[in-house]
Amino acid sequence: MTTKQEELTTQIQEGVFQQSTGPIGWDGKTLKQMRKEIDEISKETGHYAGLKTLPFKESDPIRFEKIFSKLRGGVVHARETAKKVAASPIVEQEGELCFSLYTPDADSIVTSTGIIIHVGTMGAAIKYMIENDYEVNPGIADKDIFCNNDNHVGNVHTCDVHTLVPIFWEGELLGWVGGVTHVIDTGASSPGSMSVGPVNRYEDGYQVTCRKIGQNDVLSKDWLLESTRSVRAVKYWTLDEKTRVAGCHMIRDLVLDVIREEGPDVYKSFIREIIEDGRRGFVNQVKTMLVPGEYRGVSFVDVPFKDLPVHDYAKVNSIMHSPSKIKVHKDAKLEIDFEGTNRWGWHSFNATPVSITSGIWVMLSQTLAPNDRINDGAYYASEFGIPLGSWLNPDDLRSAHANTWHSLVAAWSPLWRGLSRSYFARGYLEEVNAGNAHTTNWLQGGGIGPDGELHAINSFECAASGVGASAVKDGISHSAALWNPEGDMGDMEIWEMLEPLVYLGRQILPGSGGAGKYRGGSGWQSLRLGWGTNDWTMFVAGSGHMATDCGLMGGYPGAAGYRYSALDTDLKERFAKQLPFPQGADVDPDNPKWDTVIDAKTIHRDRQTVSTEEMFKDYDVIMNYLRGGPGFGDALERDPKNVAEDINAGYVLPRYAEKVYGVAVKEGKYGEYTADEAKTIKIREQIRKDRAKRSIPAKEWMKQEKERILNKEASPQVQHMYAGSFALSEQFTDEFKGFWDLPKEWMVYEEDLDVPTYGAHINRFKENK
């Protein structure tokens, strides 16, 4: 008796295709055969598609580059044009879209600007279709349209919706074009594109698994009806889809023009060679910029869910642990290993392997390989270790992913530091970056919009977070986000048109950038007033209890976060009586000013920076706190004049000039600060003496810390984090116990911590304990 899969395989082998005319790959092959051959020959030879030489590029380099420029220019042009179709400010204002061109077997050839993490995710969707014999059923035909946003296929998170269009030439598949936009709502259990409420897949939003949604370039009626009934903010969903389809069709036309001009055989040679060229280029960059060896780092992000109204099994305070080791091999292969990452959890912050492997290129294209040849060549020059069962690779289809960036941005920060140690060693100081901010808060909510329809919002102001400091200058303030190199905070007027929230302020937040010789780019706050709300709710999503970076070479991490909201306020009366009311930023949380000019039944001023939906009315107030970046170098080495300037510009509170930077400042007649350099020298001498007095040799301290470990003196969430890593990784456990020289019997087990272990599958202690 044969299984269904065996039957399908037999059908493919025999060429019996139910819904298509036959294999659509090159030379009569199926796509599955093509995929297998590419993988095998690339692995065997170490060159993409076995290309030890690049005959086309080497024999006719001008023509080769001409084709590249035409395609690259075309995909960028398609992005810029198509985004004008969208109404969502996330796409139209923030540029949260991207287009990429693929080989028939799903390797990326050329990519537009924008959210280029999707180089890999859309490739993963095409690979999924190939793996699941879409060629047979539902069939892949010219002018078909497919859609995917399934996290477990390899998406980043549910709101990134892909449109995939095959490109045929005379009955043969010559490639795919994919377009992605970050959609404002995908029908999760709470509104907004990066919800906190969902804790499992079935609350994570409407997930479409590589579905054929159109034929003959027309979207199917059943698809249009079902999809628009499955999400909130339907007009944005609809116009986003038109954006993606328009861009894909522009690029398909471009590719067909190139094929008409150059011939299909030239195009076929080009797409293979450009990927191998990308691989070689990446290897060359590694040798040019880095030092071979090993680089280690770690980051954390807090998940304070114990008191949130979520399912019982999700009510856990936990920490997402992201250790990473970059190994630069002798042959310039770049290996990134996340061994030791702890278990996935019941929250929407889990990730998929593709989101981390593909997402790496968002970062590398901003630092190690800052060129326009973003394709899968770099993927073939690198290697990743992503432990199964960890939050980077959940071993359970139920895991939720709606807000995976909560953890991904934390996991990336140590990678900047690792690469920066190389740049520093080689003298490329201009490339050093102390890390990235935790690019939050995500201010989200939803209800009935101004037009009477279901509405959802996700303010993308965090696209303008602080940047990490470099080795030669301060990080850029309120300007960028790791995940979108074109980050922008968006115009207040546009946000106010689309959100029932009026601005009471947008202001730099002093102390949010990490201190250092060079200061981390500063974060900022905006303050929003409910205005025109109707059945409305709001919630926040950001880091709170923890800093998600370390600073570099003596610099401090960017500040952690907190939330502020005031509900059932007296602002209506205050406005009527023209009394003072909260404005600007909460510039000094030690001496909060807002609370003196507002009365409210409820004020949240705490570290619960991930929250679930809370009812929000007109005259309620909520803060959006956009984080700062980490600093570089010892703060005592900062030019005193720059510290005074920081105070004048609002980046540093006056009292921290002396405490952190050792700089004496004096206030002038008009409130301006200047540095007293003579006094500064003395203060700095004293601080160095204080350091000598208060510190102890690291090895002495290690003895004290070992005692605390032996006595298990740490909070439940800290112990839970270690237990989740120990259960998955023998290597991490051995390194941990080896470092502290712990006795064989010492261990922390998840099941001993009085927290739910629901859904914990892989556990290397289960049999041994």
């Binding site: 071979p292 002798k330 030690d590 010892d634 350091r691 090895k699």
Partner: protein, 167 residues
Amino acid sequence: MAKYNKKKIGELIDGTLEFYELKDMMSSHKDPERFGTYMSVLQERVTWDDPIILPAGLHLYIVQKASGDRIVKCDCGHEFCDYKDNWKLHANIYVRDTEEKMNEIYPKLMAPDTDWQVIREYYCPGCDTQLEVEAVTPWYPIIKDFEPDIDTFYNEWLKIPLPTVKA
């Protein structure tokens, strides 16, 4: 391809280049001569004679000793350990593990919560410079940030001789 003299690299190290100059540097292909020029500027600036093999961080260098050892050394002259060891284990440490200690650096609520995370500051025992900061959970092993493969770097990548101690 861009090429920079010692003066320009000195200004880069000092952080005194104008932004447009930095921007040009960042946008240009990297200059292969950079490492040699950078090393010669650094060597001239330190007060000791041990040849620098590789900068290991701000103020820190891996240097060649006459004995053949490769040592991590601060520019103040303090010698930490063999380069394959973790210099932080030989530094002085101060841990910010209370709200009060955190509040010296960050305003309230903007510092990590010490039930979740502490800040470790590593100082040079010779000059008390803060050389590295870790923001980690309690119990976290001291991180060995960087272990370069010096021989591959010089012999196979740069194809230049390793610095030697003058007789």
